[in-house]
């Protein structure tokens, strides 16, 4: 794999764009370009800023340039029996580290191990003044200055270009099994949320196709012990199931392609929240805390119902929809007016000319 540091060239491109405030669309591999709003004509390709900069397994820290593919990072970790514990979805074979952090997405292990942002320790950032800045570092504990590195996770590149990220990594559990049992959605929610309060080594729980699946991972002893406390039958080829869930490759996620209408919504609720009565098909992940819905219902109606249950909604995929700002529907949950005002001020503090991924998250942000 080629290794290159193109931060100087990227800085020059940003300086040029700043001259006449040209909006820039930050592009890694493009694997998550379906998320959020707006494409701009001028792209800044960061995918060749790549290479693992530092990785010492006994430090539990990996630092890489942001164009490095997740695949390469996971292969390096795998050799040392370690992993990215937030189990990031790739959504494409060349998914990059930068895009993964910028989108802030996490996989099935998230409720048990933490999210993408939880594992961010530091970053190198190119801001909207054309400055290259370093925040955080390569150590677990660091309270010097505001936590700008974690702010970048889930900011969709609107605050600057991530050049380099340091992540905490963890050992891969030596043993793992998955058990499944048939039940109703309500029973699945009850048992998955009850497991969140039990000291068992569970690191995945989902419900789809009338079955509740629970993944148990840890030392061989711990897995054996927990196996006897969690109901269900052990399933073969469990890795394929969790991989397909993480990558949205289960048949459930292909539903919209066949019908051609409806959208995929990501619904965040408290894990124990009762099943929501919204027409469509459902898949529950994260022990009930993240729920996927394919529905033809109006997004306003969905938002209203979810809000009543104490949650919020993002429109995750809608192939029929125009992704540009022509469509004014907010893809992400709208913010309260005082919070939105604060977001604008923060954005202005990093990117005063509003050149980075303008409008990707919210209008004008």
């Amino acid at each position: 794999m080629p290794v290159s540091d193109i931060s100087a060239a990227l800085k020059q491109q940003v300086m040029d764009a700043l001259q006449d405030a040209t909006p820039l669309d930050i592009l890694g591999s493009g694997s998550k370009s379906f998320l959020g709003h707006a494409r701009h004509e001028m792209q800044i390709d960061v995918s060749s800023n790549r290479g693992i900069v530092e990785y010492d397994p006994s430090e539990l820290v990996l630092t890489a340039r942001c164009g490095t593919t997740l695949q390469e990072i996971e292969a390096a970790l795998d050799e040392a029996s370690q992993m990215l514990a937030f189990e990031p979805p790739h959504f494409g074979s060349n998914a990059t580290l930068g895009g993964t952090i910028a989108c802030g997405l996490s996989g099935p292990r998230r409720p048990y191990s933490g999210s993408a942002r939880d594992f961010v320790l530091g970053c190198k950032l190119l801001n909207g003044h054309g400055e290259i800045l370093s925040f955080g570092g390569q150590v677990m504990k660091n309270v010097a200055g505001y936590d700008v590195s974690r702010l970048m996770a889930g900011a969709f590149g609107t605050l600057g270009i991530l050049l380099e990220v340091s992540l905490k990594v963890l050992p891969r559990p030596p043993a793992s099994i998955t058990v499944a049992r048939e039940c109703s959605p309500a029973e699945a929610i009850a048992s998955m949320s009850a497991l969140l309060g039990k000291p068992y080594p569970v690191d995945g729980a989902c419900y789809h196709g009338d079955k509740c699946y629970v993944r148990i991972s840890g030392s061989a002893q711990a897995v054996r012990e927990a196996r006897n406390k969690i109901p269900g039958d052990e399933i073969p080829d469990a890795d394929a199931l969790w991989h397909a869930l993480r990558e949205h490759e289960l048949p459930f996620f292909g539903g919209h392609l066949r019908n051609g209408n409806g959208a995929l919504y990501r619904i965040m609720v408290k894990p124990a929240a009762a099943p929501l009565h919204i027409e469509g098909s459902w898949l529950l992940d994260w022990g009930g805390a993240q729920r996927w819905l394919y529905s033809d219902e109006d997004i306003g109606t969905i938002r209203h119902r979810v809000k009543l249950a104490g949650g919020y909604v993002s429109m995750f995929r809608n192939d029929a929809r125009d992704n540009s700002r022509m469509d004014q529907t907010e893809v992400f949950e709208p913010l309260s007016p005082p919070l939105l005002k604060l977001h604008h001020r923060i954005k202005a503090g990093f990117d005063p000319k509003n050149i980075f991924n303008r409008g990707r998250m919210y209008a004008d942000l």
């Binding site: 397994p57 700008v148 919070l339 977001h343």
Partner: protein, 497 residues
């Protein structure tokens, strides 16, 4: 750390009197303090070498009162410093002579424990340990456990992003909270984060955590609760060489084991602790490691065996597993008493809080040893070895001419060393006023400017805890000049804000 001197309150001005009058118009009389004798209990936090009387202290008990206080102070352009239990170790809650000190001491209710969703909503003045006590009935607890957990409050924990001895496995405050209610300097009430695992928009929860009262007043906190592990067990290992102990730490982690706690102490710290609490530590060891494993019963047994094998293989002179819960508590008591134990053998000590990449430990300890000899001041080291957070305790006697100054100088050099090896000037105690100059070593002007831009987004008027946490570039320029003058302050009569 400055030379200790106490300052008197600023003389009452007409404008201040008007503000105090306005505060008294809606707060009960006992909730607005403005007489010097009432102000004294608030003059410092846990770093008592810095003292300052505020113009006034307010003790609101509702969010609406906090909002009104902030609106008034904003209108009068008076700075506000928030305070929890005042146990902070970096002077973050040090009052300002022309400012209002806002105490959250009356916000001490646990509002809601939700065992089904593993969360609790509490007011900011609730003590850290009280949350775990309230959750215990459900087999749950709140994981971060700073050593001051009996007294420190959750609001202060959020402001400082407090850690504890279990950070490597369970994370810091930032990993264990879900939602905050925050009042801005302008008096606006914001909800940051959500009761769900993720929340929409920017991760402002990360920005607020560890922001040291610079961005907003925390008036409500929703924390995550975790299931209490079935079993915890601790192994004590002794070494005749600090380097071997350091390598053993790396070997445990390389074996794929994440201990719940992994602590190291060097000889001076071992002896002080042993003499104080008789924890059964080997007094002749150059270093000891305490390795705690938690999880299910069988899992802990399996890992204890593995860890013992690694420790023996790393050249430990002795490996002991706590025989029972009482001995486990005793092993921990020694470690947790290390600071007061050092306080017994030295009239004063200065606690540092650097973090370093773990493999740099031998080099850093060797350099600290050399610098300690050069300065003529002894140093005892306790180390959160799992996450690289080092607490060198510099022993000195403030009554001896020049020793405080030498301790400060040695502390400054230790922090510079931490930055030099790729670490940071503060792992968990915060910058506050204490390490404001060290920030100039860690960050360049461009990063500091970015921090100021973040601050301005939340607090455009710059009235929240001004002068703490992030130095001005002007200040760093002056600090740079101090280096040239061998640490001699150009204007010792000036406050070092």
């Amino acid at each position: 750390m400055p030379h200790q001197h106490e300052k008197i309150a600023a003389p009452a001005t007409e404008s201040n009197n008007r503000l105090i009058g306005a505060l008294r118009s809606f707060l009960p009389p006992e909730s607005v303090l403005a007489d010097a004798e009432d102000l004294h209990p608030f003059e410092c936090d846990g770093l008592a070498v810095y003292r300052q009387l505020p113009m006034a202290v307010v003790l609101p008990e509702t969010i609406q009162q906090v909002q009104k206080i902030m609106q008034l102070c904003h209108a009068h352009q008076v700075p506000v410093v928030a305070r929890g239990a005042g146990t902070g170790l970096s002077g973050g809650a040090l009052p300002l002579s022309d400012g209002v000190l806002l105490s959250l001491a009356k916000f001490k209710n646990i509002l809601h424990v939700d065992p089904h969703n593993g969360m609790a909503t509490v007011q900011p003045g609730v003590r850290n340990q009280a949350i775990s006590e309230a959750a215990a009935a459900f087999g749950l607890y709140y994981a971060p456990d700073p050593s001051s957990q009996i007294a420190c409050t959750i609001g202060g924990n959020v402001a400082e992003n407090s850690g504890g001895v279990h950070c490597l496995k369970y994370g810091l405050t930032v990993h264990n909270i879900l939602m905050l209610k925050v009042v801005t300097m302008e008096g606006e009430l914001l909800t940051i984060g959500a009761e769900t695992l993720d929340s929409p928009g920017y991760d402002l929860l990360a920005l607020m955590t560890g922001s040291e009262g610079m961005l907003g007043i925390i008036v409500e906190v929703t924390v995550k609760l975790l299931p209490r592990p079935e079993r915890a067990q601790v192994v004590l290992a002794a070494f005749d060489d600090v380097e071997k102990a350091g390598k053993a730490v790396g070997a445990i982690i390389a074996a794929g084991i994440i201990p719940a706690g992994l602590e190291m102490m060097d000889k001076p710290a071992i002896r002080a602790a042993e003499d104080f609490v008789h924890a059964g530590y080997p007094r002749d060891a150059e270093a000891i490691l305490l390795c705690e494993l938690d999880g299910t019963n069988a899992e802990v047994s399996e890992y204890i065996l593995a860890v013992r094998k690694i420790l023996n293989g790393s050249g430990a002179t002795e490996v002991r597993t706590a025989a029972d819960e009482a001995e486990r508590q005793l092993f921990w008591k020694g470690r947790k008493s290390a600071f007061p134990a050092v306080g017994r053998i030295s009239p004063d000590y200065y606690c540092m809080d650097g973090t370093i990449p773990r493999h740099q430990l031998p080099r850093v300890l060797r350099r600290i040893g050399e610098m300690s000899k050069e300065s003529g001041l002894a140093v005892a080291n306790v180390f959160h070895a799992g996450d690289g957070n080092l607490h060198p305790l510099i022993l000195f006697d403030a009554n001896r001419e020049g020793e405080l100054h030498r301790a400060e100088e040695l502390g400054r050099r230790i922090l510079e060393l931490c930055v030099e090896v790729g670490g940071t000037i503060t792992g968990e105690h915060g910058v506050g006023i204490e390490k404001i100059d060290a920030m100039c070593t860690q960050f360049r002007g461009a990063e500091l400017n970015q921090f100021h831009a973040v601050k301005a987004a939340f607090d455009p008027a710059g009235l929240l805890n001004p002068g703490k946490a992030v130095p001005t570039l002007h200040r760093c320029a002056e600090f740079g000049a101090m280096h040239v003058h061998h640490g001699q302050l150009p204007h010792p009569e000036l406050e070092r804000f």
